[in-house]
Symmetry: C2
Subunit: 332 residues, 2 copies
Amino acid sequence: MPELRKDPVLGRWIIIAKERSKRPTDFVIEKPKTKSGFCPLCPGHEKTTPSEVLVYGREPGMPYNSSSWQLRVVPNKYPALIIEGDLDKEGEGLYDRMNGIGAHEVVIESPGHDDNFTDLPHERMIMVFRSFRDRIRDLSKDKRFRYVMVFKNHGRAAGASLEHSHSQLVALPILPRMVTSELEGSLNYFKYKDRCIYCDIIRQEIRQKVRMVCENDSFVSLSPFAPRTPFEMWVMPKKHNSSYSDMTEHEMSSLTSIFSETLRRLNACIPNVPYNFVLHTQPLRSEPLEHYHWHFEIVPKLTSIAGFEWGSGFYINSMPPEDTARYLREIF
Amino acid sequence: MPELRKDPVLGRWIIIAKERSKRPTDFVIEKPKTKSGFCPLCPGHEKTTPSEVLVYGREPGMPYNSSSWQLRVVPNKYPALIIEGDLDKEGEGLYDRMNGIGAHEVVIESPGHDDNFTDLPHERMIMVFRSFRDRIRDLSKDKRFRYVMVFKNHGRAAGASLEHSHSQLVALPILPRMVTSELEGSLNYFKYKDRCIYCDIIRQEIRQKVRMVCENDSFVSLSPFAPRTPFEMWVMPKKHNSSYSDMTEHEMSSLTSIFSETLRRLNACIPNVPYNFVLHTQPLRSEPLEHYHWHFEIVPKLTSIAGFEWGSGFYINSMPPEDTARYLREIF
């Protein structure tokens, strides 16, 4: 059983997913890329993954878990958290822990083994964003869960362990610190100004133009004022909304367009750059929040500069976001 | 001029050190290790670094910046922050920034190019810890600085750009978030319990024994309850003290012994593992704090598992600290 543990000073929760690795020798440094030739995410190999929880594009009449699909969501075969059981919160002296109850799912974004997320045509990429919404809605029915973390690791340096393009959802019984810190910071601003800080950021960025990457009717893509790493980008809805799941179909389509353009610009600046993106949205079953604003954060993994930042939470960034935004705007 | 910028939502400061890199093409992914043959940190090359600000072990009569030394501290030739100038704090709409005033120094830990910090004999390693103290004391005289960050990147994957063993100091005009979060969390506990949370942690760990790696008369080395990564370790003084610079000579010697043993145990478990260590101590010129407790955090850089954790601050750790502590205890 995985376990959730809280750092007593910082309040930061971490998952101990013991089953995933057992011995120190499992930590091979700079493990070479292995090509076994077998991909469990490819069509025809549906039996090697747990049964699908969502499928799009199956032809009428074709059976459940058959190889007819355009996007599939399946539970992770090696989950960081497991779905069955009670939370059983308990203390251990001054420490807090609970059972690692949660869900860990894999969004198989396309049947094609070599398809790149960035290059998916509009009608295929939109399915990925729809699947996030549909899975968050479904997982929010489970009252044990407080948050669904949605993220993608693209490229080995960014943590992707399988080549076949996929993203992940982790439903959590706690709020991750990234969310609590944003909720607190934005609430403080709201109390003072009676405005959403993210709405103010968007207004200022549209006015100043210097950190804008691109925009359309519903979204902006920008380099944030204080980025952790060169080419960090945020994709944000122009209209105030704290919940990803409340998007309209039109907004879903606009999001797809701007996300695709943003990644194509990034990839044109730094070919094949590994990256992570993480959805930041409100806690499950929360009322709409006036002070919070859902968005995506895209963080390229530039290994030549990462280092102690990772362990300290303190960042030295060698490129001003005004420069990266200009490169990204002007690349095509 | 480098610049300090604050994330308006999170209050996290980052450094934009523009001079260090200029174009997107500078970000080579997985840059191969280059051996130019010339090391600016080696004896005889003192003229290729800025002039030393501290030296130990120079033979009597030998001149300043000569090649007679056992440890040298020099300003970083490519500093993230610069020492000359005023802070010039200013707003830009809702954003805050200030000039990147600070100091960035390199501790050249040994004359031997291939010497490994872990293997330094006691009388050499203690010089490194003394140099941290002496430089913090000296830098604290500059009233523009509020904190000195002390850290080491060991191994390329952990961000070391030079082979020759060295550590770094960065004097900052702001408090990094890692410090403010710890100060807040420990103060909350103190208000409630009237005790230092770190003292309570040490007492509980010594009693429970399961996460202890080693101890001596003045220090403990342990795997924290909620580690971000396998083999994360904290080295903490047993006696309450919020300031690294207040250590006695006896404590300095005990710290050296336990640090050396801790790294030797780590290296025996995972040979040549890259790691970062970061000193956590109180802000400069602060009165002694009842609620805060200085310590080192050692975070191995296991690239096979790092990934989206870096971008999200949310950690999935595949090894319980009770297991890693047992491996570390039993390895010799």
